[in-house]
Symmetry: C2
Subunit: 346 residues, 2 copies
């Protein structure tokens, strides 16, 4: 009993219908929908076979069938055709990225927002991971009697700047000397590495400007944020829209898992390894997420993969459309971030 093309067509019809309605689909529905002149009885036989193959499930004896995780996987891998974005959708994304977005955070936040408002799923977007990026220059600039600006310049451009308090009686030339010293010493190191080494060395040697350099180290370390805060989450409450989560308790369970954040961070961090990923139901490691699917994509800055983003939704997801959206947004996002950082070539 193999999977001939008719079985596949029926399976596809069932999945399509179920994605739309979220209710178990019966043989009569398919018989009419598929237009092959087959009676419901024939469909029933085929459905029975599909059931035996582990592709369909039955909530209870006398209900219609719903696709199993295995069926979705088959669908995604072999049946589904890659769909394109409609013009309106592309425009929608463009429009929202064209707004004045002044820093990375804004862009990432906007990505999550656009994603959740387009898909009505829960969306998430990882902040670029600057751990691997190397320091090129540190520049300290005096802006008032008591404050200086620390600017971190890296391989991919101007990265971060922060106002720090200045010890009294330090002048421009001294500050420049410090900048040069720091630059020389920590150039070509990874940012966090530079920060922690500086911090360590401060503990041993007794420097002149202890507190000040401490702040510089903090700036370096702050570039990569903590696990909990380095991704944006949006549309959490969208799950209340889905009949799958009409039960408040079930909804809360998922929301709690999601808002724990650790889980999602791991998912996104893992997602950086491949351009796109689709994880269906039981393929998820977390027990709380056995009923949803996660689809992710990655973005690049200057050619290098720097982060990931994606959606969490019910298993009956329009995977092909979601992929199209993620793919388009990934391109846009990569472009925006790249031009945001890049030092134009001289």
């Amino acid at each position: 009993m193999g999977l001939d093309s008719r079985k596949l067509a029926i399976l596809q019809a069932i999945i399509d219908d179920y994605i739309l309605t979220a209710t178990p689909v019966g043989s009569r529905t398919i018989s009419k929908r598929i237009g092959m002149g087959l009676s419901s009885a024939t469909i029933r036989n085929e459905m029975s076979d599909l059931h035996e193959l582990g592709l369909l499930e039955q909530p209870h004896t006398s209900a219609g069938r719903i696709p199993s995780d295995k069926a979705y996987r088959l669908y995604v891998n072999n049946i589904m055709s890659r769909s394109a974005l409609s013009d309106e959708e592309a425009q929608f994304i463009k429009k929202h990225y064209d707004e004045k977005l002044s820093d990375i955070e804004d862009v990432i936040k906007q990505t999550a927002n656009v994603l959740s408002s387009m898909t009505h799923y829960i969306s998430m977007a990882l902040t670029p991971s600057f751990n691997t990026i190397k320091l090129r220059r540190i520049q300290l600039i005096k802006i008032s009697e008591t404050r200086a600006l620390a600017i971190i310049i890296t391989d991919i451009g101007v990265m971060k700047d922060a106002v720090i308090r200045l010890p009294t009686g330090i002048d421009d030339s001294q500050l420049e000397k410090l900048s040069n010293m720091l630059t020389k010493k920590y150039m070509n190191r990874k940012l966090t590495e530079a920060g922690s080494v500086l911090l360590k060395e401060l503990q041993n040697t007794l420097s002149d400007h202890r507190e000040f350099l401490d702040s510089v180290a903090t700036v370096l370390l702050n570039v990569s944020k903590s696990r909990k805060t380095n991704f944006e989450l949006s549309g959490t409450t969208n799950i209340l829209l889905f009949p799958e989560y009409s039960d408040v308790l079930k909804a809360r369970q998922l929301i709690d898992a999601i808002e724990g954040r650790d889980l999602l961070y791991d998912i996104l961090d893992n997602a950086k390894k491949v351009e796109f990923s689709i994880t269906i139901g039981s393929e998820n490691e977390s027990l709380d997420m056995q009923d949803c699917s996660v689809v992710t994509a990655t973005y690049r800055i200057g050619g290098e993969t720097m982060g990931s983003f994606g959606v969490i939704g019910p298993k009956r997801m329009d995977y092909s459309k979601i992929l199209a959206i993620l793919s388009y947004m990934g391109e846009s996002l990569s472009n925006i971030l790249t031009t945001m950082f890049e030092e134009d070539e001289e």
Copy 2:
């Protein structure tokens, strides 16, 4: 039929019980709880009076009573005693504010987060409104061949800085001249005003560095964010914890209203006018919020009120505890932000 002290005691007991249980409270419960040696029958009579006074409501004939909006108002204004924060609670707040928070956004976000995790209500915090703040100096600093940093310094300190693209072939001295020119011209104006005037003048006269100055104007204008993005929201899904919102549809209705954001912005903007505000049920203008209460407080930067924050929760709220929390957080927040901006006196 006035409001003697016994009626007040009974009312308070009812409110206290209802805050805890969220179920209509009956005469026997109060008779036992209040410890005045009164039988349930007596309580019933009193309750009947309170009902006539519009202070109690009955979901249906044979159920207990629940406090009316008017009762909550009476409670808040006349009965409630101002409670203090427990040590753990104060510590909790302190701990979370002591984390390295590098910019305003982080502080505001943290405020919202701490608030919602302490209260389990929905919380919101307005970003400081810099509209009224006056420009003191604009400083442009070259940081590479193609990029400069624009630093905005105001009455209350260093405000905002942004990397902007530099036209080719502009040198340090030219940039300094530009800084001085801009400073002279727009000093003591409000930031947004300065930005829009600059933008306007650029349209008329044909300046040398059109595009560059345009970016400077954008930085000025970006200081105050748009209606939609200038406050942080946290704990939206907390309402699912309350029996009042065990119905998904009802929950969604409130969530939708809240995530529309315009409504909340108006509430927070209004809240800046008074140090604390409590709005109970039908006192809310929005129809979608007739079933909740809103409590807000304000924070200051350098003595001047610059923003507000607060919670949205069910009407049966522990108002006195919430006020204590808000009050304590307001102080902390004011201190943090003030020291963040302040130029130490020279």
